[in-house]
Assembly symmetry: C2
Homo-oligomer: 216 residues x 2
DNA sequence: ATATAGAGTTAGGTACACCTAATAAACGGA
DNA sequence: TCCGTTTATTAGGTGTACCTAACTCTATAT
């Protein structure tokens, strides 16, 4: 019942993602994430507010119920696309983001269903994020960032919140991918790196990137 | 080396398809095929001519070398998409056209390669049309329209040039799909229907649709 | 207190791809 | 030959989504 353009979908998707961390979603963060100029985003956010898809206050942009509903549909198509690309077409997990970011706007509800069934109803994307079901319901788990573990704590990697292909490829070579068990050997003081142990090997890992890895 | 928009791709694709039959590609035929107003097409064709993608003469619109090259790339992505949809995602042949028509603009060269390999280098789309290789080379076969066969002539269906889902579904129920052997029992006079025999059953088939079925 | 940096918006403009209404040209009968 | 239909174009206009330049705040830093 909505005539949303690919661009509107893209904005809502970005806002949804930026909402995941604690920081408020400012127009400048949005502009940076979408690689657009600040005025372009300012203007578009105004339109989204008119369409009642977001609320724009001093504290930043946030999705309305309806905006959230649409965002989750886009995310669903994005994550199903990623799974199609990795599981069936043989892409690596670091190659799928941009591809999926275009596919997600070209996929009909029928294709969504077909992908889901052909893949055997996957629960997550290749980076470990839950795929919303057709009603937009997302499985939530209580997770901790790897960066918050103490020395000798163990955890199983659930998700890796990172879009940069280079970094994803690097993490894959270390074996830091979902489902893998990781143990923190040592935490350097003053915000220094963590020494982690994964499948027998020991690596130093920056706090920044460790905070993007969620474990359970 | 070209910054083509999805719309330009779509026009070139349509022109290519309309060139397949003998009639000249007029702007009105194009408008009808693209479901756009005549002036819109007139204007866009002018732009395509400026970009040296088509020549526009009294005899109609025709693709330049470069226009042809791009058109074949789009067709390649379209047909590979269709194969992905039918062979892997379980779509029927009558459901894939519109879906593929959107996907073809969202597929990178890498994805193209991945699809091709995952499908085992298919030679044709589900409707029997050849998939251009990565250099734009298309396998050409000498084919006859089913409508030109005489009584008691036999042939193997190679392709079905039809986009209407209803008609495709109907033809599938009759078993009139690529690879199938068909025999003409009788040809009604005055442009009337053909009586064809396919896998043991006999059907009457209009000239119009029979001319879209190519056999070898 | 004043200067400066940062964040956000307004103003003004462009490219793209569509539309309807009006006009022109060509064609095929009667 | 004239007339009406088909075919194509011109003219004028819209909505979407982007841009740069200029302006307005506000929150520091000196
Ligand atoms: Mn996206
Ligand atoms: Mn993902
Ligand atoms: Mn198309
Ligand atoms: Mn086809």
């Amino acid at each position: 019942m909505k005539a949303d353009t690919p661009r509107i979908e893209e904005y809502l998707e970005s806002i949804y993602k930026l909402q995941q961390d604690e920081h408020p979603v400012t127009t400048s963060r949005l502009a940076e994430h979408l690689k657009l100029s600040a005025p372009s985003v300012s203007e578009m956010v105004k339109k989204l507010a008119q369409k009642k898809l977001v609320n724009h206050t001093e504290k930043g942009v946030c999705l309305t119920q309806e905006g959230n509903r649409i965002a989750k549909k886009v995310i669903r198509r994005h994550r199903l696309s990623e799974r199609l690309l990795t599981d069936i077409l043989g892409f690596r997990w670091d190659e799928v983001h941009d591809e999926a970011c275009r596919l997600e706007h070209a996929i009909s509800p029928e294709m969504e269903k077909h992908i889901e069934e052909s893949l055997g109803n996957p629960k997550t994307c290749p980076h470990g994020f839950p795929i919303p079901d057709e009603n937009g319901v997302i499985a939530k788990e209580k997770l901790r960032p790897l960066s918050e573990l103490k020395a000798s704590d163990k955890g199983i990697i659930v998700s890796v919140f990172e879009e940069d292909p280079k970094m994803l490829q690097y993490l894959a070579t270390l074996g830091l991918i979902p489902e893998v068990c990781v143990r923190v050997e040592e935490v350097a003081p003053f915000g220094g790196p963590l020494i982690v142990c994964v499948s027998g090997s020991r690596y130093a890992l920056g706090r920044e990137v460790a905070s993007k890895i969620k474990v359970k």
